[in-house]
Symmetry: C2
Subunit: 351 residues, 2 copies
Amino acid sequence: MKLSIAVLAGDGIGPEVIEQAIKVSDAVAKKFNHELTWNPALTGAAAIDAVGEPYPDTTHDICVAADAVLFGAIGHPKYDNDPLAKVRPEQGLLQMRKKLGLFANVRPTFTFPSLLDKSPLKRERIEGTDLVFLRELTGGIYFGEKGRRDGGETAFDNCVYTRAEVQRLAVKGFELAMTRSKKLCCVDKANVLETSRLWRETVQAMEKDYPEVTVSYEFVDAVAMRLVQWPNSYDVLITENLFGDILTDEASVISGSMGLMPSASVGTENALFEPIHGSYPQATDLDIANPMATVLSAAMMFEYFGLKEEGQAIRDVVNSALDTGMVTEDLADGGKAYGTIEVGDWLAKNV
Amino acid sequence: MKLSIAVLAGDGIGPEVIEQAIKVSDAVAKKFNHELTWNPALTGAAAIDAVGEPYPDTTHDICVAADAVLFGAIGHPKYDNDPLAKVRPEQGLLQMRKKLGLFANVRPTFTFPSLLDKSPLKRERIEGTDLVFLRELTGGIYFGEKGRRDGGETAFDNCVYTRAEVQRLAVKGFELAMTRSKKLCCVDKANVLETSRLWRETVQAMEKDYPEVTVSYEFVDAVAMRLVQWPNSYDVLITENLFGDILTDEASVISGSMGLMPSASVGTENALFEPIHGSYPQATDLDIANPMATVLSAAMMFEYFGLKEEGQAIRDVVNSALDTGMVTEDLADGGKAYGTIEVGDWLAKNV
Ligand SMILES: CC(C)[C@H](C(=O)O)[C@@H](O)C(=O)O
Ligand SMILES: CC(C)[C@H](C(=O)O)[C@@H](O)C(=O)O
């Protein structure tokens, strides 16, 4: 296969971890006879610094032309903690999601046996956890009308969903559930919100098209609890944008392997793959960042192209690295810690 | 002191746990020479069954006339899991909060040394946790305009906040922080929401009035993570209605003592005290429900009246009961389990 991939390395440790993912992807491509082209483009604080906006049109054009986007991380202290600033990296992120039509954010949370003890949860609570959130990513209160009234004294954010938006996300949920344990949980707040009642009603009406899937409906506050109590009781969860933001982050820490968690954001035309961790500006250029989440995001990218074996090859080599202790300091646990580049090299060599 | 208290026992185990709280409160009142009058009123499914609505006017009048409200729990299977139904117990709850002006929900999360092992979190993560959420309870997306357009195909919920609403909640937060470790965390999503930017802006402007309080600003998704990772790093947290709903429930399970967690909802004129647990219909009338959360809610009620010693007396007797194993089956851990009434009697006798 010939694949062209847009590379949005972003800020902080973004460029370093992306470099390793490219290295490993190239090694896999070589092994399986694919041809990858990498097209770098600016985003985040790096883009604001260079051209004054976080998601420039040139970057968008490169993403649209590519078969997929590999994304690092964005955010830099000089733009952080000032949500009142005019131009912020986050705005670029939201524009990008919207303009690329990336309506489904896919966030798996799973455990690595060798890392179970890193979890803040007790072993028996976390063992066997393997769940996937599908978070709606281009609608809801993130993109509804927002503003001020009464000379700035009143603020509002409108949350809006259409049935079609719910359906296209739910279809992905049902389909994913069919490839797994056929359990789907619809997370909403239908006892309070009209948008949630639309979600529930829409998903209920789709149940008949997937008779094998068992669907449960749970309120977002109950899920926030059960995720900590029995994360391994979940399989596929679908939810709207804001609930997904909160719950996927909550879920990301329970496994104790946050530095290893990949994600995908997909639409009809485009797809983007990125580690769930942030840009960790303090770690920039120290050669200590863990590249594995980005490498596993590249695995999801291969799988998205239908290249299952290639994806599995990456997952396998990451597992070997964990088993043999070829890890960065966040996972070294008193043992020897390797550099970002060393780990990347090892993965590329052994894949 | 002469105090008149409205009693809204509600559904499921509500009446049983309320009965014990009344018993213990009466014992405390006797000891400290107060005169308590209890005025029962209907709410929840019980009220729907009796008069067709979950928060009847007669109930409201009784609450308004009282010095405080003691609330059990509401919710019954026959009205549950059907958020599309016309009349639901939850609606009564929301009406009650709004009509009584209970704008601040106070939700402490703390640990009991003897119960640390019940937490899903590892001991070292949870030890020393003692935090309080102040959740805004009468505004935001819960009470904004909501509805359908396009023949039902589009749903919307509007989230609205005024500066005055933020201020009155934040004042309570700053004041509470002053009585504790002087740390306040404002939880918002100011990188996305205009209402959150109003929250942040308003709280920032109030900092100068409380120079001793150190204020931090954190995004809701980050708090959802840190609550699981290091709950003991928080002290007082203030937040809007929906974020508070999710985060207080998440926080309630980390201590492992959910059956013991009290809460208060206060306004300018009225105040209500209730356990955070639900109505557990399956446990109704089995004499197995843990009454301690309701008893501790009564302690918060005494403290609200300025009766600190009385509140402390209740807290002390609950601690003794835990220490001596005078507990219901949820806490018995293989040891002897006592009935709801036995535990209530013991607390009343030993207070
Ligand atoms: C940075 C922020 C706008 C973003 C979001 O809320 O979607 C982030 O938290 C995420 O989850 O990707
Ligand atoms: C029952 C529901 C309407 C309510 C809420 O969302 O406020 C409950 O979850 C709570 O937290 O008291």
